[in-house]
Symmetry: C2
Subunit: 604 residues, 2 copies
């Protein structure tokens, strides 16, 4: 299985590790050290060899930062992880919740006379260190970059770094050759008149060269760095053992394969020649800024030039996304039919449901991975926005409750991400009212028309309005960007109050409003949507963009109070469900097809 | 009358003035000079003595900047003024439209080898000059502050600066004493540990000391500067002739009156003592930064500390706004009844309508001024967003057209601003459809509920949605802040895609979506709205803020296609109109009351 439900925290070993770590600090005359969750590529999911935060604290969450001082230590996590962190890690650490608690504030309180805090410059972005340096300077606390990471020195049984084989990503799915993409990236770099651009994001590199890897869970990338010079081949710094002959041939025209150990030397050489290098201060590590500047390079700060073109999907990627969603929709329909058949008997739990769904996806014969660990949440667990079941928390799915399942698959032609909330047994009137309000929020995004120049933040309020009108809201964004057989959370576009990036035709986003009743249930309804080209509207004088809904999975009719829907909303729902009967129906066996017919029957 | 319809451009004199101006430049060895519309206080409306841009170019608009080089000259205006500017000013100037054309781009093209451009540091904000300096540096163009303004030297018949008497603004309307406000402002300054704050905005000063003036049209302020020291009295730098004994008594506890000529000396003294001074870089002139720094002062940049508390109206100001809107609504009802009676005969033109409306407002006995020059726009003039009729453009209001009137009054208890669009004779089906779409946009704002922390940009999309759905839009914000017997355009809050300021209970804004058909007609529907305190909603779990609509003026039933309204929208409209019958009806004579009854009869 792609998902493990084991809770692998080994917090018993933490006190000894902490002591060894502090001995390292003393030897370096440091008052403390920053231990972020991040790795050298700012990956969302980490290889085991980069799980330094887990090693030192026992915390298994996917975001957080620890600060270890000679006497005190604290772990900072966001709201979704504070309970989990408190349960997992020993008392040696205070657990503090961001953004209310700030690392800088805690440091000032715990080092009232100032001091020196070490950090590994490979694990923090340029901007992160710059912001923190400025804040801490006021309290006489200096940040000291360290050439070696103390964790790495004391980590004796550290797993080897991943070395999964790289595979070519076929042109049939990518739609544009690496050569063509490289020309475009060079045009972007040429505008800044730089000699080279450094790429540090694995998904940018995977996109640029049309390659995929398996170094980390759920995101099919290979860990690597790239230098794109103004002309000639680009240099791909990657462990040669990952590169078979097929990939070598695939890359022959566009990139030389260079050992990662040579990257530093290349940067130094560039620096010595006084080269102008473009670096993304929001994603590249502080290490690169320091190394380049030390060597004499001049840096032009600018976005990773692959981010925007990667977000705008090619025609082939769009066709792939549609195909992946048909396949994934059929697997989801089989799962929902199975759930209806089995859950009312009380014999299904969170883990068995997630495993069954993974099996349906595998049976498509095309599944490469899950796009993230399935959130399979019974009853009150649904109100914990990023709940992930473990053997310890696994709950039965009981009649009279709501079941929330948020999951997705990685297919060679596209990445899926879908959430549905399902009535187990008879729902209450309040459940129906809440579900229908979230459905209204969902439809408000699905049906939006908007002019060129609109940003995600211009549309996010449409989803919230039906909830605001009812005195309700949800504390997360309405949607994130999604990659094409790449990261399920792909910047830069998003639907949120902070979504300041313009939406462009070809971008894929999620549409996932929700509603959470602590101790009761969670409702979230998520589909993926594609930004369409501006088009004329009868009687209008400006072209408007729109969304095409890619995900084809029924909403639960048993939870819809049709009297709360406007005629337009009801029409959208019935049309959406009809599309499913037409497109998903033929992919199902007779029994599931009959379930689908019932689940998508018109409402009025 | 408060409004003049004369077009006072004297462009015939421009060539001679331009020549004299260029002789000044030559004497100073400058390659050019910036001539903004602004004055030393960043006023929206200027006293005649500060109309330098008009003097030099002949352009009478309310925003723009000229650049005069030794050979070339250009005037930069926004879209609303490009036609007018081209008609008004001689060929000696290119007229360029912002934001498409940029002063910096034009300068680079016209000074390809670089050069020195002079500017008057009293007429530009700190930020303005900083931004421009950075942009021009790349083209080797340097900005040189000039101690004297060349325009002032060649302007022989320059009007005297205004010296209107200052009057106390009664506590009954202000709601908070100057003493109390000064304590609050000092608390804000204390957070930055500054020795003093400099106030340069006349409306901040009027608000802080509860005084009003008449130095400029439409905004009842006196031109002045203020230094708020950390303790003791504040210093009000103002021409003593404006201050009668009553005002002197009113201010005795809070401010010393100082001659404006002494301001520079005071700043120098503060600088020499090494004082820390707070200055608003977005509104204070570059002159103050330069003068303070030259004297040795340290500057802390921060918003003018009056801006936010001024925006949040006191209970008395809110009560005053309601009273002013009843009075103003009655005048508007009388006007609309008069218009219905007279316009169909073809005997009313734009100017006579605006004059008649001003008379109805005067007949309330409380009108202090108009809050801006009335936009009285017949037919196609309505599509020109900031159209203002002059003797030259004055048009008949013809049957079969739409008439747009945007106007407001300054009363001691409040400032009004209302736009209505009226059918003259029989409207077409398309007029009705467009009007109804704008009405839907208007209602979407009027009925919005929103949580604490919402910003104007979170609500602006609600107004646009009905138009976007129809392939339509408008190219201006949805609403601006409004003062309390102060500026009709009062920052910081606004409803727009750039409205990043949080809305707080007590703020007043306009709600004015529109739709413009070039060469055809313009539709705009504007009321003022008040942000209400968060309140529980039945069945909800979060308190929501809302808007109370202050303006009580009917929408034109003849232009409403009720079939396009949802039941909720129709209910809002009928409730709003019923409120008018109840509250405005009793203020009218029998005939007008009968007109109002018809104009507000329920629709279904």
């Amino acid at each position: 299985m792609y998902q493990s439900f084991d809770d692998e925290s080994d917090s018993g070993a933490v006190p000894g590790r902490l002591q060894a770590f502090r001995e390292e600090l003393a030897a370096r005359k440091l008052d403390g050290f920053l231990v972020p969750h991040s790795d050298e590529h700012q990956n969302e999911f980490l290889p085991a060899s980069a799980e330094r935060l887990r090693f030192l604290t026992g915390f298994t969450g996917s975001a957080g930062v620890a600060i270890i001082l000679t006497k005190a230590a604290a772990l900072f996590v966001d709201g979704r992880y504070s309970l989990q962190a408190r349960a997992q890690i020993p008392d040696l650490f205070e657990v503090l919740q961001t953004p209310e608690a700030k690392a800088s504030g805690w440091l000032k309180d715990n080092l009232p006379g100032g001091g020196a805090i070490g950090y590994d410059p490979k694990l923090h972005t340029v901007k992160e260190i710059e912001r923190l340096t400025e804040t801490l300077a006021k309290a006489d606390i200096a940040l000291k970059p360290q050439p070696t990471n103390p964790t790495d020195l004391i980590w004796r049984d550290r797993p080897a770094p991943p070395a999964a084989a790289v595979v070519p990503h076929p042109l049939e799915f990518a739609g544009r050759s690496a050569k063509e993409k490289l020309v475009e990236i060079r045009e972007t770099l040429a505008k800044d008149k730089v000699d080279a651009g450094l790429l540090t994001l694995p998904d940018s590199i995977a996109w640029l060269f049309n390659i995929r890897g398996a170094d980390i869970a759920h995101t099919p990338v290979a860990l690597a760095f790239v230098l794109v010079s103004a002309s000639g081949k680009a240099s791909l710094f990657i462990d040669a053992t990952k590169i078979g002959d097929n990939v070598r041939g695939h890359l022959a025209d566009v990139a030389e394969i260079v050992s990662p150990g040579e990257l530093e030397g290349r940067l130094t050489a560039l620096g010595k020649s006084g080269a102008l290098i473009r670096l993304d201060p929001e994603t590249a590590s502080m290490h690169f800024k320091q190394a380049l500047e030390a060597a004499g390079a001049k840096i032009v700060f600018g976005d990773d030039p692959c981010i925007l073109p990667k977000a705008i999907k090619s025609e082939a990627e769009i066709a792939g996304a549609r195909a992946a969603h048909l396949r994934d929709g059929a697997a989801m329909a089989r799962f929902l039919a199975w759930l209806d058949e089995n859950a009312s008997g009380g014999n299904v739990d969170e883990i068995s449901a997630a495993e069954r769904l993974e099996e349906f996806r595998r049976e498509t014969g095309k599944l490469k991975d899950l796009s993230f660990d399935t959130i399979s949440a019974a009853g009150a667990h649904g109100a914990i926005v990023h709940y992930r079941p473990t053997r310890a928390t696994n709950a039965k799915i009981d009649p009279g409750t709501l079941f929330l399942i948020d999951s997705g698959g990685q297919y060679a032609d596209g990445t899926t991400d879908v959430t549905r909330t399902i009535a187990i047994g008879q729902p209450t009137a309040e459940m129906k009212r809440h579900y229908t309000l979230v459905l209204k929020a969902h439809i408000a995004i699905a049906t939006a028309r908007f002019p060129k120049g609109s940003r995600g933040q211009d549309l996010d309020p449409f989803a919230r309005r039906p909830l605001w009108d009812a005195g309700l809201d949800y504390d997360h964004g309405t949607g994130h960007g999604v990659g094409s057989f790449l990261s399920v959370h792909e910047p830069p576009q998003r639907l949120s109050r902070h979504g300041s990036v313009e939406l462009k035709p070809g971008m894929i986003l999620s549409n996932e409003p929700g509603l959470y009743r602590e101790g009761g249930y969670g409702i979230r309804l998520e589909t993926l949507i594609l930004v369409t080209a501006p088009a004329r509207i009868e009687g209008g004088d400006r072209e408007m963009m729109a969304f095409e809904t890619l995900t084809l999975v029924p909403f639960d009719r048993r939870l819809i109070d049709a009297s709360l829907l406007s005629p337009e909303e009801l029409r959208w729902l019935n049309t959406y469900h009809a599309e499913m009967r037409e497109k998903i129906g033929p992919l199902l066996g007779e029994q599931d097809r009959s379930w689908l017919a019932g689940a998508t029957a018109p409402m009025n």
